[in-house]
Every structure is written in C-alpha cells, then in structure tokens.
C-alpha cells in the first residue's frame, strides 16, 4: 500500500534519443493516492499500457522517476517492486490447481503456509472460486481462468497497487458487469490501490473514482467522472467521453459572447484575453443544447437525422458546415422543412484554445 508518484516519467521504445513527438509516453508528473480506484482511459495506442508497464517494472522508463511512498523504485525489477498486475488475457499455470495458482505469488515470497491458506480461501470466496480450488486450472472456461488471474493479482495484501490491463476483454458482456461490480466491491473491502486500464468509457466511469484520460501519449485530464463530463479539460476528453460526444465547433469568442456562423451565443463567463493565434473553439455537450422551433433569437440548424437512444433522443443537425448533436425535448415534433433553432445552456458552454480548456472569469 503506497502512494505512487510519477516524476517527469516518459518512455520511448526507440530509446531516449528518439524525437520527443515519437515518445509512447510523453513526460507526465502525477500522484496516485493510496487506496484510490483509478481508471486509465484512452483509445488503443495512446500509451496507457506503456504507463502501466512502467509502473509495474515490465518496461524501464527512458526518463523520469517512479516513487512508492517517496522512495525511488525506478531501478528495481518487477519482482522487487511489490506490485500486482492482471493482463488482458488469462495467464494460468497449467500444472497447478486453482488453489495452487492463487497461492503461487504468496509462496514465491515466502509467506507462512497458514497465512497463504487463509488468504487463498478469502480471495476464492470473493471471486466465487471456492468450489474449484482443488481442480486443475487448465480445464476451466476463459471466464474462470481470468478470475484466477484476477485472484492472483488480489491475493497479496501488501502490494503497492494492483494494475489491471483491460482484464475483462475476454469475458462475456453479462459476466463483465458482474465482475466489474465485484472488483469495485473488492476495492472497498481490501483497501488496495487499483489502476484499471480500459478503452471503454462505461467500464472506466463505473469502476473508478478518478478517471485519467490519455491521448497520444499524454495524460490530458484526470478527475472524477462528473468532472470529465461537466468540464472536459481537452476537446479529446469532450468527445471521447459521453455518448454522443461533445460538440466542438470553431467560434469567435470575445468577452461574454461566442459567435458561430454569425450568430451570437451568450457565455456564462468572461473570456477577455485569449491566447493570440490559437484555434478557438467552443464545446458543449449535446445534453445541454435543446432543439426548438426556429425563432429569430436562436441559432438555426438543419436536422439530418434523429437517434433514439431510449433514455433520450438526439438530433444530428448541421450548422453551415459543422455537424452538431442536440437533445430533442420530449414531445417535440420536427417541422416539415427540417429547420430548427438551438437553445444553449450558457453554463455548460466551454471555450477551448488549441484544444485546451480556457477558464473564463466569472
């Protein structure tokens, strides 16, 4: 159990002399609090697995340091790091029973036999594996095998953190839900720091209390699911999280106003000074834009289609060349010419300069 600090950590598979832009992980400094449930979210190839392997020591960083509770462990091997990791595909020791598989990490570290037994029982109980303890692990289904892998990750009580690398990829959707809630429960029960890598936002948002979003080798935002939803720090976070994603449209912003397509939208905050020469965009989630009957005060748009997601309906509209998604209020009927007006909620309209959030002045 430990606090994990990353200090200017960066990695390139091409070696330290590679061009800065080619680094799989660009320099990052951040802290993982003891006992936290983190999700590392991002599309494939964004560097999340690299970051995980750096923490566990499978990969040695090109630059920077990793501290466990303030102690520099960067040069230590994986065995000495006191960390657990669960991989994407189940790893099972073929010749052992389920129980022996679970006991393996403890035995290798010379934990007394009685303690090993108690801990294996506890973990098997939590994962519903008690029944299989004496069976050979090779004969089980992929689901059960992955549960054993999870169990091996969780069996040590003294680990600095448990790292999960997309552990539920091989699991059926239905079981996925169960296992994810199980992991969440385990997190509460075992008081372990958990870092969970995934590219599935639902998985990340349901598992974690802090979600770290990565994009192109950078950590672009880390925050609670609500923060990521309400106030994305980067346009990437805006459209990667949420379904449909955030609307991002180029705009001219001055003071309390944004101008799109010649139309003025009120802003909640004052944006006096914007970086010169930056690409200015406004971002607003579809949930905070309602479509309405066309009126002179409203930005007008043409409906292209309407998606019914069950809980809500979203209209795909077009403003000039820009595509946009907006909520369709219950009972709204689409006019024959498909032309509608858009009503913005000013509190949720954000301004981005070169894709990064600009904090306005209240």
């Amino acid at each position: 159990m430990a606090r994990i600090d990353l200090v200017d950590l960066a990695h390139s598979y091409g070696g330290n002399d590679a061009a800065p832009e080619s680094f799989a992980l660009k320099p990052v400094t951040m802290t993982w609090r003891q006992g936290g449930a983190y999700a590392l979210l991002g599309p494939s190839g964004c560097g999340k697995t690299t970051l995980l392997n750096l923490i566990s020591g499978i990969v040695t960083p090109s630059r920077g340091k990793i501290l466990f509770d303030g102690a520099d462990i960067t040069p230590l091997s994986t065995q000495k790091r006191n960390i657990a990791q669960v991989f994407q595909f189940p790893v099972i020791y073929d010749t052992m029973t389920v129980g022996q598989n679970l006991a393996f990490p403890l035995q290798n570290r010379g934990v007394p036999k009685s303690e090993v037994e108690a801990r294996v029982r506890q973990i098997a109980d939590l994962l519903d594996l008690t029944f299989y303890l004496d069976r050979k692990a090779t004969r089980l289904t992929a689901d059960a095998k992955q549960k054993i892998s999870l169990g091996r990750g969780l069996v040590r009580s003294d680990v600095a953190a448990v790292l999960f690398d997309e552990p539920l990829t091989v699991i059926d959707p239905e079981l996925k839900w169960q296992l994810r809630s199980k992991l969440k429960a385990l997190h509460r029960e075992l008081d372990l720091t958990m870092i969970y890598v995934t590219h599935d936002q639902t998985e990340a948002l349901t598992f974690a209390d802090t979600v770290v979003v990565m994009h192109d080798g950078r950590v672009v935002q880390s925050g609670t699911p609500a923060e990521l939803f309400d106030k994305p720090a980067h346009t990437f976070v805006g459209y990667f999280i949420g379904s449909p994603g955030m609307n991002i449209v180029p705009a001219v912003v001055s003071g309390h106003e944004a101008r799109i397509d010649g139309h003025i939208i009120g802003l909640h905050r004052n944006y006096g000074v914007l970086p010169a020469g930056a690409k200015i965009e406004i971002g607003v989630r579809p949930e905070f834009v309602n479509i309405a009957a066309p009126a002179s005060g409203l930005l007008s748009a043409a409906i292209e289609r309407i998606d019914d997601l069950g809980r809500a309906r979203f209209a795909r509209v077009r403003i000039g060349d820009a595509k946009f998604a907006a909520r369709v209020p219950p009972g709204f009927s689409v006019p024959d010419d498909n032309m509608v007006g858009l009503v913005f909620d000013p509190a949720h309209v954000h301004v981005y300069a070169d894709s990064r959030l600009v904090e306005g002045v209240a």
Partner: protein
C-alpha cells in the same frame, strides 16, 4: 428418399490398392511366409510353423540368445541417449537467444549435424576416434587415457553414444526451442509480477508448455535410436565382440551374412511389432496429454 447404392466407387480405389499391395503388402507377406519356413539354399523351402518364433523368444537357443542380448543392448542404448539428449536439448533451447540476428546463427549451427548423412557421421567419428590418426583418439591417448574403441567395450559404447548425442541433440533442442517460442510474453511478465524464481518459471511455465514437443522429441529419438544401424556399423561394426551389436545389425548379420531367411524374417517381424507397440503407446499417451480425465470430485 432411398440412398443409391453404387459399389462402382471401389474401382476408383483400385489403383491405390494395387500400388500399396505391390510396394508394401506383398513384401510384408513374403516376410511372413519366410518366417514360417526354413531354407537350405537352391530355393528349397521347408515348413517350420512357429518354430523360429519359439526359438527367438527362448534365450537358451543361439537365435534367441543373440536376439534378446541385442534387444537389451538396444534398449539400454536408447535409454542412455534419451537421458542425455532430452535434458541437454532443453538446456540448449533455454540458453538460446530469443530475438536478434544471433537466433538465425544458432539455428543454422544447430541444424548442421542434422543435415549430415548417417554414414558420413559414422565415418567422421570412426576417423575422429582412431588412436593413431584421429584427433580425438590421439589427444585422449596423449593425455594418458587408454582410449581405443576397437578393443575396449566401454570406449566403443562411449563413442557410439557421444556420436549420437552430437548428431541428434540438435533435434531435441530445435523442438524445445519451438515450444518455448510459442509461450506468450504475458506468461513471463505474470511470473515476474508473481515473484517467481528462474527455477519456478521453468517448472510452472516453460516445462508444461513444452511437454507436447518433448513427447514428440522423445518419440522420434526413441524410434530412431531403436532402429539405429548405419552409425555403429560404420564405427565399430558391432564390436568389439558383440558389444555394440544392436538389433538391426544382428538382423543384417542373420539375413545377409548367414542367409538364414527364416530366422531373419521372424526376427524382423518381432522387431517391427515392438516398434508398432511402442508407437501406439506413445501415440495414446500424446493424444491424452492435456485432456486428462475429469477429476472425481464431481460435476460443475
């Protein structure tokens, strides 16, 4: 709808049947025929029933004694070379590089002995081991060892065994290497995370993942060493005395040396049968690996 019964399809099998009959069944049946007869030359044959087989399995007769002694030597030889080549092959495979240009170099070096014909291997070692002009024999004798594979039984055995190890360990190593290469990196990473020692990694991951190729290696090496002829024949000619006379060498002596076709036929049939049985046992074991019977404890 009634099935149309048409036996004409059998005619299509006829050419294959004819070829197999000509090349395998008829020669085999000739051997079976010989094994029941005695011959005194001039193409005169006399019916002997199962006489040769009785004699073959009775150690008190000349034929039985020679057969059982050579069978014993052959089994001992197979056991010794398996006990050396399998562990050695595993060690070689484990110490080979996993990637980089050195892999290709290692593979080529390992493959070289396998490409050399048997009688050439035999000739190489025959000369290599000679005390007068052979590098090995001369060196050993200069170092004070009284090494002479022509006159000393132990030296003859050692030479034949070292020669076989030299020739065939590569095969085991290459098979093991293929088995090792097929283990995904995640296993090694997981073992690191689990704090496994080098020995534990070998026992828990590498050996279990290799057991299929190891069985193939054991099968191939056993069959091959059980049928060995050329190399010991070239090096020692079965001697000194009969000390390195293996079953196939004995068989050739009886069949072509003494021209005892009946005895030789009976011997080769029994020899063949042993090989078939061993093959069957190995095959059964191999196909059952990994599909062990469900444990008694009960159903899920």
């Amino acid at each position: 709808m009634d099935k149309i019964v048409n036996q004409k399809a059998w005619f299509l099998v006829l050419p294959v049947f004819a070829v197999v009959a000509f090349s395998a069944i008829l020669p085999l049946m000739t051997v079976v025929n010989y094994s029941m007869q005695d011959t005194f030359g001039n193409n005169q044959f006399f019916w002997n029933g199962v006489g040769w087989f009785k004699e073959l399995l009775d150690p008190s007769t000349d034929l039985g004694g020679r057969f059982l002694a050579s069978l014993g030597r052959n089994l001992l030889f197979s056991a010794i070379i398996l006990a050396i080549e399998v562990p050695l092959g595993i060690v070689v495979a484990l110490s080979m590089p996993r990637e980089g240009w050195t892999v290709a170099v290692c593979l080529v070096i390992l493959a070289l002995p396998l490409l050399i014909p048997w009688n050439v291997v035999g000739t190489i070692w025959q000369i290599f081991g000679r005390p007068d002009i052979g590098l090995l024999g001369y060196t050993l004798n200069s170092l004070g060892f009284d090494y002479n594979y022509v006159s000393n039984e132990f030296d003859a055995w050692a030479t034949v065994i070292v020669m076989d190890v030299w020739h065939w360990t590569s095969l085991v190593a290459l098979l093991c290497y293929a088995g090792l290469k097929s283990i995904p990196d995640a296993y090694y990473q997981a073992a690191q995370i689990d704090g496994a020692s080098r020995w534990a990694v070998f026992k828990a991951i590498q050996l279990p993942k290799m057991n299929r190729v190891l069985l193939i290696a054991v099968l191939l090496r056993f069959m091959d060493s059980f049928m060995i002829y050329t190399e010991p024949f070239v090096v020692t000619g079965g001697g000194p005395g009969n000390s390195t006379t293996f079953v196939s060498i004995e068989l050739v002596k009886i069949a072509l040396g003494q021209f005892d076709l009946g005895k030789a036929a009976a011997l080769s049939l029994v020899y063949n049968l042993i090989i078939l049985i061993v093959c069957w046992v190995f095959y059964t074991v191999m196909t059952n690996v990994g599909t062990e019977r469900p444990q008694k404890k009960g159903a899920a």
